[in-house]
Amino acid sequence: MKKITNITQLELIANNIRRDIITSLVCAGSGHSGGPLGMADIFTALYFNVLTHNPQKPKWEGRDRLVLSNGHICPVLYATMAQAGYFSRAELKTLRKLGSRLQGHPHREALPGLETTSGPLGSGLSQACGMAYALKMDGQANKVFCLMSDGEHNEGNTWEAVLFAAKYKLGNVVAVLDRNYIQIDGRTEDIMPLEPLAAKYRAFNWDVVTIKGNDMREVLRALNGAKKHTGKPLMIIAHTIPGRGVSFMENDYTWHGKPPTKEQGEIALAELCKIESKLQGKRCLLCRSIHEKCVCVESR
């Protein structure tokens, strides 16, 4: 896929992905809001700039692999895949509905382009390691990106994989940790403290990079650096703002696992329209400015 390098263009795509996340969650009536909104910039960077992939040929062997370990943030994966052309954006409205390819948690067999089935936490890094091991064994240079949550670092399975990747020097594994400090029951450092997390990874023989996960420039620099990285496995700790882009969701852990209502969705879309207007330097192209009563929910 052709790489987009213009930062504003990428930010606009991320904003569109956020809108699609809100719309699909409102239609679904259930699902997770915080994580998907927080990770929209990283997903945009991956699918529109970093990954070697072809939305028309999702099974192409030369692709990089993207493993979503914390499957519950799949609204951002689906919205990004739709933007990238894996399937039509209209299908996003079927999220979590009977017969949909967009299952509540991603199922590999349901939708081409998904590398794994996930949802139960802590298993993604191991699967990414298995893929990376096989790629290394077969002398293939592709990377395996594993997107993880901070909460799933409570899981023993995660740390088993951390040990494994270091032992086999899986330099082709790039883990991207969504460090948003929230999990279902509250703040990560209250539920089960993880800090010092970067030091832990270094002590486990990983290379570690820490970035602001909602800063497109930093995200691109880190992920493109990761593409060239060799030697030890690489952990990118991305500090993100859960609910990013929607003021009343930002940094509020109660938005981890619930969707906006229709009314909340309209307010959220209006806010995202404002962001778009700002990025474009002009009025929202989609709803033509009505920021107070944005009708994006209906019209899209």
Binding site: E115, T116, S118, S126, Q127, C129, E160
Partner: protein, 329 residues
């Protein structure tokens, strides 16, 4: 019966003399892997710090690049296997049945079965016959755990040769599979020439009064029981039901029609195991009186394998008593 043994290419001595040569089923797995190592370059073996006792040691020595030592981490064992399978490899994830699938059931469910990838789960040291290690290491619930999973196939081979052949068959079969076998030396009922096919049970003895359906090394005790029953004028059929899922429904239905009574025998909990599978099937299509011989909602304990098999009712004598109770009911 000697005719049947010829026909099925079973051990010639099977019905003549019950003192057959004994070999551990786990050796069949180890040797099967060596056969596969040569034949199929995609086959890989993963182990969780039990290389020697699960008999994957020789494969590890001969094919070091295709052997992955995971350490004592069964959740990682099966999830790394899932990732390897996603890349076209055929991983055999090997440990003791207590730990795999015992500890990593959810990972098997989500990342292997629902994900539908080509991983083989190998549960060694299954059953009460593990002996002195005690109940923590005597896996009795694995068949039920694996059988309940959609997409999962379940094999419980009866002896060395069958385990070796089942290992080959597992690699040829595309999809998730589980095979359990035991620690101890057990009698060689089949031979290198005995046919093995996933899902096709083996008729080991014809009979009309009762059908004994066994899985695993206890099949040998079922045959001995059938001989003891002959002395009491009861002509028992014996079936080796090495594949518990998919169940050979055709053979089991015909046996039930012919014998009108069924006894199942397995070195596992009767809940959800072979007995459960047979009872569930027959109760829907052709209900006949059934007796399930197995462990009844209980844990094992330390002891010698022989003592434990006797105590928990897996000897031919005990099976005979169970059959007599059912026949005389």
């Amino acid at each position: 019966m000697t005719e049947l043994s010829k026909l099925k290419k079973l051990n010639k001595a099977l019905y003549l003399d019950f003192s057959l040569e004994k070999v551990p089923t786990r050796n069949g797995y180890g040797d099967g892997l060596l056969d596969l190592g040569k034949k199929n370059k995609e086959v890989m073996v993963l182990c969780a710090d039990l290389t020697e006792s699960t008999r994957v040691e020789k494969f590890a020595q001969m094919y070091p690049k295709r052997f992955v030592e995971i350490g004592v981490a069964e959740q990682n064992l099966v999830t790394v296997a899932s990732g390897l399978a996603a890349m076209g490899k055929i991983p055999f994830a090997s440990s003791y049945a207590c730990f795999c699938p015992g500890r990593c059931w959810e990972q098997i469910r989500t990342t292997i079965c629902y994900n539908n990838v080509n991983v083989k789960i190998i549960g060694a040291h299954a059953g009460i016959s593990v002996g002195p290690d005690g109940a923590t290491h005597q896996m009795l619930e694995d068949i039920a755990l694996m059988r309940a999973l959609p997409n999962m196939m379940v094999i419980v081979p009866c002896d060395y040769w069958q385990t070796r052949k089942a290992t080959m068959a597992l690699a040829a079969y595309k999809g998730p599979g589980y095979m359990r076998f035991a620690r101890e030396k057990t009698p060689q009922m089949t031979t290198v020439k005995t046919h093995f096919e996933i899902g096709k049970a083996q008729l080991l003895k014809e009979g009309v009064d009762v059908c004994i359906i066994g899985a695993g090394p206890v099949v040998f005790e079922c045959l001995k029981a059938a001989q003891l029953l002959e002395e009491k004028n009861i002509n028992a059929m014996v079936i080796n039901c090495h594949t518990i899922k998919p169940l050979d429904e055709k053979m089991i239905l015909n046996a039930a029609r012919k014998c009108k009574r069924v006894v199942t025998v397995e070195e596992a909990q009767i809940a959800g195991g072979l007995g459960g599978a047979v009872a569930e099937f027959l109760s829907e299509v052709y209900p006949v009186p059934i007796k399930r011989v197995g462990v009844r909602d209980h844990y094992g304990e330390s002891g010698s394998p022989e003592e434990l098999l006797e105590k928990f009712g897996f000897s031919a004598k005990h099976i005979t008593q169970e059959v007599l109770q059912l026949v005389r009911r």
